[in-house]
Amino acid sequence: MAGSPTAPPETAASTTMTLGRALNAGLRRAMREDDRVVILGEDVGALGGVFRITDGLQRDFGKARVIDSPLAESAIVGCAIGLALRGFRPVCEIQFDGFVYPAFDQIVSQLAKMRARSGGRLSLPVVIRIPVGGGIGAVEHHSESNESYFAHTAGLRVISCSNPSDAYRLLRSAIRSDDPVIFYEPKRRYWDKGLVDLEASPASLDRARVLRTGTDLTIVAHGPTVHTALAAADAAAEDGFSVGVVDLRTIAPLDMETLRRCAEKTGRMVVVHEASTFMGIGAEIAAAVTEGCFSVLRAPVLRVGAYNLPYPPAKVEDKFLPDVDRLLDTIDAALSYRGKART
């Protein structure tokens, strides 16, 4: 998508690469800049991870810094906590979204809380990378969208990247952050290509990005559904509606300033994500935006997410995943509210 709003300005250091390679470049850069950065996870060494995100890193940085772990997620996170206490900056890889749950206690009770428990004395700069979401025809447990759990957990930051440039910049920032970060990678976008400026500064961890401005309605998306949102905005434009798109980038905290600004401008908002609608991040956005912008909203903030069912078998996932059609249908619904703003 040349000239798309997701592309950063081109510089000398700009290269076209896939989202997966951009993450690899981000990891490599972080490891080069700071020798306290270590990687641990299942199959991250010789194999380079099942998605090859750590490809070549063990070869270049050694087995001491790129650690093939035993098969135990709780231990991966628990040991990362210990490493962080010792002054390292561990980056954990969870092989698939559905396999993070055995580590749940270590993440929500240990990693998230230890700083607060210590009265602010300790900090745990741990990044947990998770390939997330569906759309790759996988078997069960390999297509989960579980950001809600971590977003609801005080003490964590939750980041979601949608394109190669952000992937590179956000990952570097996540590794630099002294707070624990859950870092979501949209697995069905690993092979999407885009321009990456390798010299760009690390991105802020609390700002959303307006990818496209609009006047009639704003779509809010993150990770894998940003692409869907852009496509829906294109389609809506053909029907004469000016639809903006916000890429959240950060799920916790939310960039409420940007969200409110867009809601004020367009009066209508639709949130899309792959997680179940019920208690998904769309609920928080709807509640908070409505609270902040009640008088200017012309329609309720509507949501498009998964149904309240476990992720289905691959052959029906295209019907299950929020797609352009469902998004457009919901945009129609939002636009069909006749009411003026109350102001």
Partner: protein
């Protein structure tokens, strides 16, 4: 060819009992129990136990069927008919030898690579492929086969087996609830909780660890320092260590282990040494992490060849082999047909599969889904 009993020694109640195959762990490990060498010769122990021709023929047929199914499924995956396939190639003896040693009503919790065991239990090729074709998460009804759904979240099924066995105990049954898991899964907390819980409660579970030397790209020396059977002994389980490419030894060892469990002496574990001949899955590229030499070493220990040599040395009739060959051809046809005939799933139906009792949210969402589908069909 060394001494062969036909019918087998252990089938006769008047014979003196053969030596126990249990592995009491000591610091010097004497290696896995073997009845047949890779060259197809009986070991002393194997000779002492003798060979039951009928059993050997059954096991060989079971293995041959599994390998053929595996092969066909691989081809189907390459043709795009399956989304993914995890081969059991190389592990046929470990599976068939163990599952055949159970009573057919002993409920089995597989991991996800137990295709050979599944076939023995009667799961049909279509049922077995459904999950990998992406038409369902589980292709069969576990009850009739006493064979549970595959579990993809590693090790979780060991606790389900332990709970099931608690129930069996409460019911006064004498089942040997059996659970399969891998060398990698053994590192999970759940598996160790299951070891501990079942040992503490004297719960009738039989753990079968197929140590196929790899967990995707991770070799066992990254996974653990001491073999899994030693670990299990530490928890107080009765433990066995067997050459998992030796179907006859695996059968005998599992039989002894199952008998211990059935007698109420507590849980037991069999560690079967075997090898994953293919990649982890059809998505894997094993050349990134292991050598051809590895493969060659284990190729030479092939479980089918080994038992075939035994059978031939027992003067098995040629018709046995030829009839089997025909059966395998029929199986191959059946696998391909069943795969292609699997009906696609219907999202609408899934709305009824999540809860038993009515659920207003799911009902509302189904309604919304139906309206949306209708709308789309009108627009088309």
């Amino acid at each position: 060819m060394t001494l062969v009993h036909d019918p087998p020694a252990f089938a006769s109640p008047t014979d003196p009992p053969p030596p126990s195959l249990e592995r009491i762990w000591t610091s010097k490990d004497s290696g896995p129990i073997q009845f047949v060498t890779p060259d197809g010769e009986l070991t002393d122990l194997g000779a002492e136990y003798g060979v039951d021709r009928a059993l050997a023929q059954t096991l060989y047929r079971d293995m041959a069927r599994a390998r053929r199914l595996d092969h066909e499924a691989l081809a189907l995956q390459r043709q795009g008919e399956l989304g993914l396939w995890l081969q059991c190639w190389g592990q046929e003896a470990a599976q068939v030898g163990s599952v055949r040693a159970l009573s057919p009503s002993d409920y089995v919790f597989p991991s996800y690579r137990e295709h050979a065991a599944a076939l023995v239990r009667g799961v049909t090729p279509g049922e077995l492929l459904a999950q990998w074709r992406g038409v369902s998460h589980a292709g069969w009804d576990p009850g009739p086969y006493a064979f549970h759904l595959y579990s993809l979240v590693l090790g979780t099924q060991t606790l389900h087996a332990t709970g099931y066995a608690m129930g069996s105990l409460l019911d006064g049954a004498d089942d040997v609830v059996t659970v399969y898991f891998g060398d990698g899964a053994a590192s999970q907390g759940d598996v160790n909780e299951a070891f501990n819980w079942s040992a503490a409660g004297n719960i009738p579970v039989l753990f079968i660890c197929q140590n196929n030397q790899w967990a995707i790209s991770t070799p066992t020396d990254v996974q653990f320092r001491a073999p899994v059977h030693q670990r299990a002994a530490g928890f107080g389980l009765r433990t066995f260590h067997v050459d998992g490419n030796d179907a006859l030894a695996t059968y005998a060892v599992t039989r002894e282990a199952a008998a211990i469990v059935r007698r109420g002496e507590g849980p037991a574990l069999v560690e079967a040494e075997t090898f994953r001949m293919a990649g982890h899955s059809t998505s894997d590229d094993p050349s990134r992490y292991r050598t051809e030499t590895d493969l060659a070493t284990w190729q030479a220990r092939d479980p089918l060849l080994r038992l075939e040599t035994v059978l031939r040395s027992l003067d098995t009739r040629a018709s046995y082999f030829s009839e089997l060959e025909e059966e395998l051809e029929r199986l191959a046809v059946e696998v391909r047909r069943a795969c292609r005939e699997l009906p696609d799933p219907v999202l609408d139906q899934l709305f009824t599969h999540t809860y038993v009792d009515p659920h207003p949210l799911v009902d509302a969402e189904r309604l919304a889904y139906r309206k949306f589908v209708e709308l789309m069909s009108v627009e088309d």
